[in-house]
Amino acid sequence: MRTPLIDRRTVLRGIGASIALPWMDAMAPRGTALGRRASAAGMAAGAAGAAPRRVAYVFIPNGVNVDAWNPASAADGPWQAVGALEPLAAHRDRITIHRGLAHANAAALGDGPGDHARSAACFLTGAHPRKTAGDDIRAGRSVDQEIADTLAKQGASTRLRSIELGAEPAMTSGNCDSGYSCAYSANISWKADHLPNGKETDPGAAFDRLFGRRGETPEQAAARARSRRSILDGAVEQAGRLAATVGRSDRARLEEYLDGVRELERRIDADRAVLADPGTRLPDFEGAPRSVAERIDLLGEVLALGFRTDSTRVATLMLANEGSNRPYPEIGVGQGHHDVSHHGGDRAKMEAFAAINRFHVERLAAFLRALERGTEEGRPLLDSTLVLFGGAITDGNRHNHEDLPVLVAGGRAHGVAGGRVVRSAPGTPLCNLHVSIARSMGVPMERFGDSTGTVELG
């Protein structure tokens, strides 16, 4: 039997004093819905004989300053926590650096400029996105969605099949990159080849999605669940009638609508037992994040809690949109991220770029700490969670897609040893690693994207 409780003080100790996390105050006391759900899920998994495995894909845009990124894995033997990767020193033996992996489909292939849009769209799909400013967008189905759907088919009854998070909202005007729709730059998770998943950028709203609306009594929550069921039934019926009035090729949106409604109905069933429980009190959450670091770290905390309670097992998190030109005043970078990524050898820009790389790596470290604090049968959640961290542009100044900045953290249960560098032959598809990770999640996957085999997880 797992211990369903998260020790609140353990959680708070690890969080920087500058970051107030008031909602943690009320975190899952024994006997709450949260605790109980975790416990029920634990028992179900226990009965099946294996702890659930989780996977999180964490994305960084604009490539990296390779002079700051690569020294950590330059020498033979274990990797060194230096340069941009220095903040990972405490997790050195839990992390494997991958070198030599590439995304050929992120390159132009005759489509001209637009590496930013292509990279985000290609990162988890391995596909070469169709160049369009809006009509008929198309990339590919992403590996996180392949895994999430297979886990659901295998009987995982998590509240959400997957969760998509990001620290920067979708852009709202113009072409985001050289004639590519903004949808390409702002999404890495694609439910279908024409259907980006969108993402939640507000930690509070993400929390609500995973655990139910804050400030709601159990009676209210139960009443709302009952009400939803009837209302969604009515909606399904209407959608069926509308479908009869449009041509076959125009039914796709209606199908999307129906899929979304059915997914919600499924979740009501999963929640019923939990919500009927008297004395349920969901955690509270206060205020909007005040800095980029806080927003990202809160998203990471919410995600760790989601894994911890087995509310989902598959996640994506974009630390910023691809091509993002947001400045990072909190670390003294007043210039835009994209601006400094095209440093052209300018020393000040290169330093600012490396500082942003390092800042993002620090966010990874914070997320890994959150995963360590959560325990399951006495083992840290980090053991059962594999985190793929990286992007699909290598050198931000050159826009190349070979030897991508990619590392794998946690995932001891998946077979990640850590502490080492896995060197693949130059040009080995990143999709090979996607296949390896999917398999480590128990998903039988032969090929994915342009994969040619597998890569040792490390």
């Binding site: 967008i137 259907l195 449009v246 949106r253 979304g260 007043g334």
Partner: protein, 767 residues
């Protein structure tokens, strides 16, 4: 029938661009090239576009030799000729305007121009959802709500968030719309509640600032707040009670304030110590929703050197915050009151049926049949049943469920345009109800109102004169502000300007409030053009604008007394460019966080004002260094000259940079400046044809030549209106609209031209 298809890969970027320009077309057998066109290709094109070394990898040699070409090759040629940008402008021997037109016509005669049609099913985007809910249920239901908190931002396609193909509906979006529907219903209909007491103990208070909590007391040692959160079901009178005490030190007595959601509502002295604590009381109105009631410690004192240890430190202690209420009658929200009138008397189900009948047409944008209303009422009753399955829940929960059900209904969330009758060749006219919907979402970003529905109901709207009459009426309606708030801000690239971050060190005065004012300045100018008070060209060279006192100070304008709404109309000072060109909104949006960006400004002028976007730079090209005088003390202007010296860059940059450099007098924060990095500002630049641009006003003159500006406006407006990108088949319409608009100068007439076009009034069956 031409079909949208995956396009062919070209060689090199020029070919890629040409191919991208093809739009929907199908690979077919070659078609014969019309004789006149063949001669033209021979004279003007093949000198460069021939054989293996053809410019841009685009070979027309075989076309001329064989007298036949693939359809998409002819479409690519057509696109270039229609834009008249091939042969290049510096070519001495170029076809006349008539020759260009004749060649385009000749191609159209043998190859059907590529066309696009919007998908028949699209969802309401966030802005449309917002306005539709507001117009159906009353503005109160959304008062004080931040759209960002409820719904995710929409993806943008073709430059606008109305593009149907990008308005995807993944599960996250469905869920968010359901959740938002529930929240709206909760605000539209309140449940009867009894007064109750919520006491928040020290351990549950949320602290900002330092201090400790020891059992009975939560301490504030250096200022800061202790807060209690409460879910307030009904807006009404409530009483707040704070148990409080202080440790005194220094000359003053401890002071505290009570705040509601950060707003101070009461201030008190606290002379009492923990041995005899005080109870401080405040009564007042709390709005429905999550409220935060806080106690703030106002006057910290700390003097470690005071000889008496008891006089060194002043602290405040809170023993509890209690919120009690509601007191007195709770007023029903306006929607609920209206619903009660529609509902009349009788069983709950019949009453709901009448409410559904009353609002159904507005919500669903089509007539609602009696059985539809009945089905909704049945759903609502089922949805509000108690746990034991009885119908006992009563009127309010059932009405809430009805509102939720209607806002989740696909007839509300999705716009569905009926398919043409089977076997229809070409386009079929849209029914009046669909036309009404297109019209209202174009002009108002919202659903048709009663008058427009009446015109749809008796098919009057199918008549062109009736459409014109509706346009005239609708553009004068306040809801037409949506054209400024949704169309213009996306066209000009200033949407959500307040989320832009300029470097705080370089531009300390710029904050979100100022940026919002800049955006509103532009929206106000656009709104006057929309209403026909100002001509279209006022956007380019008009000499008036509206500013708040803060904005006027920021720009350095003379003071002008603002009207009641806080805005004053002012004449632009001499030397400041007209129209939107020197609006802070545009100048900020086309800058980098630490400096102006002449390249972005040049690109913006070409893209937004002339619809002639340059192709993006090839990869591997560095951007300019941030510090303007590094790189061996070269100025920005010199650095830009460097990259124009590279022929790969020069193709586009000669034009783009010249335009952008003409804006150099206008800083990234929208202010006039006389120096850049200590040197006098130069805003003269040379255009590719050798002419000299003197300042941004000269840019307006260049943009204003011909009707390129009108065509850009017309095309962006058409994309926004239709929810799709344009294609070759739209050229004729756009050319006509642009020509006419250059003559009459009236935005309302431009809108009339769009909504009476067959592109707007009919649809073609999609393959």
């Amino acid at each position: 029938m031409p079909a949208p298809r995956r396009r062919r890969r070209g060689r090199g970027w020029m070919a890629a661009m040409m191919a991208a320009a093809l739009g929907g077309s199908a690979v077919r057998a070659d078609v014969p090239v019309p004789a006149g066109l063949e001669a033209m290709l021979d004279v003007h094109c093949v000198a460069c576009h021939r054989g293996a070394k053809a410019k841009g990898g685009f070979d027309l040699g075989t076309v001329v030799a064989e007298g036949a070409a693939a359809e998409d090759v002819l479409r690519a040629v057509r696109r270039r000729l229609a834009k008249q940008d091939m042969p290049p402008a510096d070519e001495l021997d170029r076809p006349s305007v008539e020759e260009y037109a004749a060649a385009v016509g000749a191609i159209d005669a043998v190859v059907e121009p590529a066309w696009r049609e919007v998908p028949a099913v699209r969802r309401l985007n966030r802005a449309q959802w917002w306005r539709s809910v507001r117009d159906a249920l009353g503005p109160e239901v959304l008062d004080g709500v931040d759209p960002d908190e409820w719904l995710p931002a929409d993806e943008v396609g073709e430059g606008f968030d109305t593009t149907a193909d990008t308005l995807a509906m993944p599960p996250l979006v469905v869920e968010k719309y359901l959740d938002a529907a529930e929240r709206v219903a909760e605000r539209a209909v309140t449940l009867p509640t009894q007064s109750r007491v919520r006491r928040v103990a020290p351990g549950q208070l949320r602290r900002q600032g330092s201090g400790r909590t020891d059992g009975e007391w939560a301490w504030l040692s250096t200022g800061g707040t202790l807060s209690a959160r409460a879910t307030i079901g009904d807006a009404a009178e409530y009483a707040v009670e704070v148990r409080v005490a202080a440790q005194q030190a220094g000359p003053d007595v401890a002071r505290m304030s009570i705040e509601v959601d950060g707003r101070r509502v009461a201030t008190h002295d606290v002379p009492q110590g923990v041995d005899a604590p005080a109870t401080v009381r405040w009564s007042g109105r709390l709005d429905a929703g999550e409220r935060r009631v806080s106690v703030r410690f106002l006057n910290d004192y700390w003097n470690p050197k005071h000889p008496d240890p008891a006089q060194r430190d002043r602290n405040l202690a809170v023993g509890s915050i209690t919120i009690e209420g509601p007191f007195g009658p709770v007023a029903d929200p306006p929607f609920e009151r209206r619903a009660r009138e529609w509902a009349g008397e009788g069983p709950v189900r019949s009453r709901l049926e009448r409410v559904a009948g009353a609002i159904g047409e507005q919500v669903f944008r089509r007539p609602i049949a009696a059985e539809d209303a009945r089905a909704l009422a049945t759903t609502a009753v089922a949805a509000s049943r108690g746990e034991d399955g009885t119908d006992a829940a009563g009127w309010e929960p059932a009405l809430r469920a009805l509102v939720t059900a209607m806002l989740v209904d696909p007839r509300f969330l999705l716009r569905v345009e009926p398919a043409c009758a089977p076997g229809t060749a070409g386009a079929c006219a849209l029914p009046a109800w669909t036309l009404a919907e297109r019209l209202s979402y174009f002009l108002w970003s919202s659903a048709p109102d009663a008058a427009l529905r009446a015109a749809a109901n008796d098919d009057r709207l199918l008549d062109e004169a009736a459409i014109r009459a509706e346009v005239a009426r609708m553009l004068l309606d306040p809801r037409a502000s949506a054209l400024a708030e949704r169309f213009a801000v996306q066209w000009l690239g200033i949407d959500r300007l307040e989320s832009r971050q300029l470097d705080r060190l370089a531009y300390p005065d710029v904050d979100p409030a100022l940026l919002a004012m800049m955006r509103e300045e532009t929206e106000r100018l656009v709104s006057r053009v929309v209403r026909g008070e100002l001509p279209i060209r006022a956007l380019l060279d008009g000499r008036t604008t509206q500013v708040t006192p803060r904005l006027a100070r920021h720009y350095g304008f003379a003071e002008a007394a603002p009207a009641e709404d806080g805005w004053a109309s002012v004449q632009l000072p001499e030397g400041r460019p007209g129209g939107v060109l020197a609006h802070g909104s545009v100048l900020v949006a086309t800058s980098n966080p630490t400096r102006t960006s002449p390249v972005k400004r040049g690109k913006w002028v070409l893209e937004a004002l002339l619809d002639a976007a340059p192709p993006p730079p090839p990869p591997g090209v560095p951007t300019l260094p941030e510090a303007p005088l590094d790189r061996a003390n070269r100025s920005m202007r010199e650095l830009m000259q460097m990259h124009r010296a590279d022929p790969d860059c020069a193709v586009c940059h000669v034009r783009m940079d010249a335009i952008g450099l003409a804006f150099e007098r206008w800083d990234a924060d929208g202010r006039r400046r006389e120096t850049v990095d200590g040197l006098p500002v130069t805003d003269e630049s040379e255009m590719p044809d050798g002419s000299i641009l003197r300042g941004a006003a000269a840019v307006a003159a260049v943009v204003g030549e011909g009707h390129g500006f009108e065509r850009s406006l017309a095309r962006h407006l058409l994309v926004f209106a239709l929810g799709r990108g344009t294609a070759d088949a739209d050229d004729a319409l756009l050319d006509r609209l642009a020509r006419e608009a250059r003559e009459h100068g009236s935005f309302p007439r431009l809108v009339e031209g769009i909504v009476t076009s067959s592109a707007f009034r009919s649809r073609r069956p999609r393959p």
